[in-house]
C-alpha cells in the first residue's frame, strides 16, 4: 500500500473531544503537518495536548471533526495507518517483569519491518541495559525504551507525547539530536511538550494550545515576532520615571514600574536600547539589573496565556522554562 501521495501527512479539522464526564478537552482545533515537518503542540498541563494526540494516534474516535493521517482515518482505518506510524505515549506501558530486550522483542513481533532488537536499543543508548528488568530502569531509561519502540518499525510518522519529560539535561539533548536526525531523514514528527525551549529549538512549526484551543500557530519566529522585546532595569537613586527621555520617542509601546524596577516593551529593540543607553551614558548613571531581551517563545506563551484566560489566572500556570525544567529533572 502506498500512502506517499499526500503532502499533508496529518490533517486535523475542527477537532473536538468531550470525555464521558462532559469535560471538553479539545474545543475545535484545525492544523496540518506536511511531510518531513516537525510540528510541536505546546501547552501547559491540561491544555489538551495528550487528548489531541490520542485522537491522531487512533486510540479514540473524536467527538466531532475530522482527523486524517497519511490520508486515512486513524481510528476507523487502524490497519491502514498503524504500520506507518510510531507512537511514544506519555507514560510507559511496559510489563515491569519483562527485561528490556524481551519488551522490544515482543513489540518487534507486532511491528511490520521491525529493526533488529539490538539495533533499536543501540539507537537510544540502552544497548548495555538489555538484560535488565523494566521495573529496575530509571524514569529516563523508560522514556528511552519507549522511544526505541516508537522507532522500531522505521515509521513515516512519529508521535511523541512529551518525549523528554523526566530526562536529565544530557538525556534531553540526546533525544533532541535523535529527533533532528529522524526529521532530516524525512520522518514527519508531531511532538507535544511543555518545555518552551524544546519547541523553540526543534519545531519547524508549532501551535500553542490553551484550554483546548489553538491560541497561536506558525514557525517559532512567526509566533515570537508578534510579541514585543523587553528591557528591564532599576532606576538609579534620585531618578524617577519622568526623568527618562519620553518613552514614545524611545519606541516603547508599553511600560510598567514596580518599586524602582522599570519594564519596557518595544518592537524596535535596537532603537529603544540604544537611546536608553545613550541617555544613561550622558546622565552618567548606572542602570542596575539591566536585562535586554528579544522576544522569546516564553514571552509569547505567557502573553497568549494572559490574553486567553485573564491575567490573574494565567501567570501562576505559566509553562516551565528550560531552566526550571533542568532543575527538576535529574534522574
Amino acid at each position: 500500500m502506498n500512502t506517499n501521495g499526500h503532502k499533508d501527512v496529518i490533517e486535523v479539522t475542527d477537532l473536538r473531544r468531550v470525555y464521558g464526564g462532559g469535560f471538553e478537552a479539545v474545543r475545535g482545533i484545525t492544523f496540518s503537518v506536511d511531510r518531513g515537518e516537525l510540528f510541536a503542540l505546546l501547552g501547559t498541563n491540561g491544555a489538551g495536548k495528550t487528548s489531541t494526540v490520542e485522537l491522531l494516534e487512533g486510540l479514540a474516535p473524536p467527538t466531532a471533526g475530522r482527523v486524517r493521517v497519511l490520508g486515512h482515518d486513524p481510528y476507523e482505518e487502524r490497519a491502514a495507518v498503524r504500520p506507518h506510524i510510531g507512537v511514544m505515549l506519555q507514560e510507559g506501558g511496559f510489563p515491569s517483569e519483562l527485561t528490556v530486550a524481551e519488551t522490544v522483542r515482543m513489540w518487534a513481533g507486532c511491528t511490520s519491518g521491525a529493526r533488529p532488537v539490538e539495533e533499536a536499543l543501540e539507537i537510544v543508548g540502552l544497548g548495555k541495559r538489555s538484560g535488565v528488568r523494566v521495573k529496575q530502569l530509571s524514569g529516563g531509561e523508560k522514556r528511552r525504551l519507549d522511544l526505541a519502540l516508537a522507532l522500531l518499525g522505521r515509521p513515516e510518522v512519529l508521535f511523541l507525547d512529551e518525549p523528554t519529560t523526566g530526562l536529565d539535561a544530557e538525556g534531553r539533548q540526546g533525544t533532541w539530536e535523535l529527533v533532528r536526525e529522524l526529521r532530516d531523514a524525512g520522518t514527519t514528527v508531531l511532538l507535544t511538550t511543555h518545555y518552551l525551549e524544546e519547541a523553540e529549538d526543534l519545531a519547524d512549526r508549532l501551535a500553542i494550545l490553551h484550554e483546548g484551543r489553538i491560541a497561536a500557530t506558525g514557525t517559532p519566529e512567526e509566533v515570537t515576532a508578534s510579541q514585543p522585546s523587553r528591557i528591564v532595569f532599576d532606576l538609579p537613586d534620585g531618578y524617577f520615571l519622568g526623568d527618562l527621555p519620553p518613552l514614545a520617542e524611545l519606541g516603547v509601546t508599553d511600560h510598567e514600574a514596580v518599586g524602582r524596577t522599570v519594564r519596557l516593551r518595544t518592537h524596535e529593540l535596537q532603537r529603544t536600547a540604544t537611546r536608553l543607553l545613550v541617555w544613561a551614558e550622558r546622565a552618567r548613571v548606572e542602570l542596575g539589573g539591566l536585562d535586554i531581551r528579544s522576544a522569546s517563545l516564553e514571552e509569547a506563551f505567557l502573553q497568549i496565556a494572559r490574553e486567553a484566560s485573564g491575567a490573574t489566572k494565567a501567570a501562576p500556570e505559566g509553562p516551565r522554562s528550560g531552566a526550571t525544567a533542568r532543575k527538576g529533572a535529574a534522574v
Binding site: R78, R82, V87, G93, G109, S112, G113, V117
Partner: protein
Amino acid sequence: MSTVTSARTGASAGTTTSVGRVAALARAELTLLSRTKATLVAALFVPLVLPLTTRSAIDDMDLEGAGLSVGSVLLPASIGFSLLFAVYSSLVSVYAARREELVLKRLRTGELRDLEILAGAALPSVVIGLVQCVVLVLACTALLDVGAPEAPHLAVLGLLLGLVMWPALAALVASFSKSVEGAQVAAMPLLLVSMLASGTIAPLEVMPDRLAAVCELLPLTPVITLLRGGWTGNLSGYDTLGAVATAVAWTVLAVFAVQRWFRWEPRR
C-alpha cells in the same frame, strides 16, 4: 509464515500477520506468567489438588441412585476447577494488571487488533488449562477406572466452549475493577457460585428440582453437563441441546459484553 519465526527471533523484516502478532504477545505473556509465582502456583496446582479434597464428599453422596459413578463426577469437576482457576481466575488478574500498567493502551497503539491483544494475553493460560485437562483425564482414567468416553464429541465441545467462554468472562470481570487486588475480589462471586452450584462438587441430579433448574443456567453448568455426558453417554438429545444452547448463549454474551465494555485504560 516467516513472521512466526521472525517473531521468535525478534528480527522481523516483513509484514506482520495475525498469528505472528498473537504469538509474540503470548510468548511475552508466558514469560511474565513464569515470573509471577503466586499466579503460577494457583493456576498449576489448585486444579490438580482440589479434586482430591472433594473426593470424600463425593464418596458420601448417593450417586448410584442418580446413575453416576465417582469418576464421572470427579473428572468433569476437576476440569471445571481447571477452567475456573488456571483460566478464569488467573486471566482476571492478567487483564487487570496489564490495564493498570498501561500495557493494553500501549499495545493498542500498534498493529495488533483488539481481539489479538486479548487472545495473546489469554493464550498461555488457555494452553495451561488445556494441558491440565489432558493430565486430569489421563489420571482419572488410570486411577478411578473411568473408562473411555462414550460420546467424546460432547466432551470436546464442552471443553472448547469452556475455553472460549471463561477467558471472555475473565476479561469482562476485569473491566469492573480498579486494581489487580480489586480484580481478584471481583473474580470471587462467579468463582464461588460456579464451584458450589454448577454441578462440580454436588451434581445437579442430587439437588432439589427447582434449585437445579436455576443452577442449569450458570455458565459453568453446561460445560460440566457436556463433559459428564461425554463420558457417561446417557445425556438425552433434549438435555444436550439445552446445555449447548446455554453454553453458546454465555459465550456469545460474554464476547459481546467484552467488545462493548472492556476497559483498555485505568480509570482516572
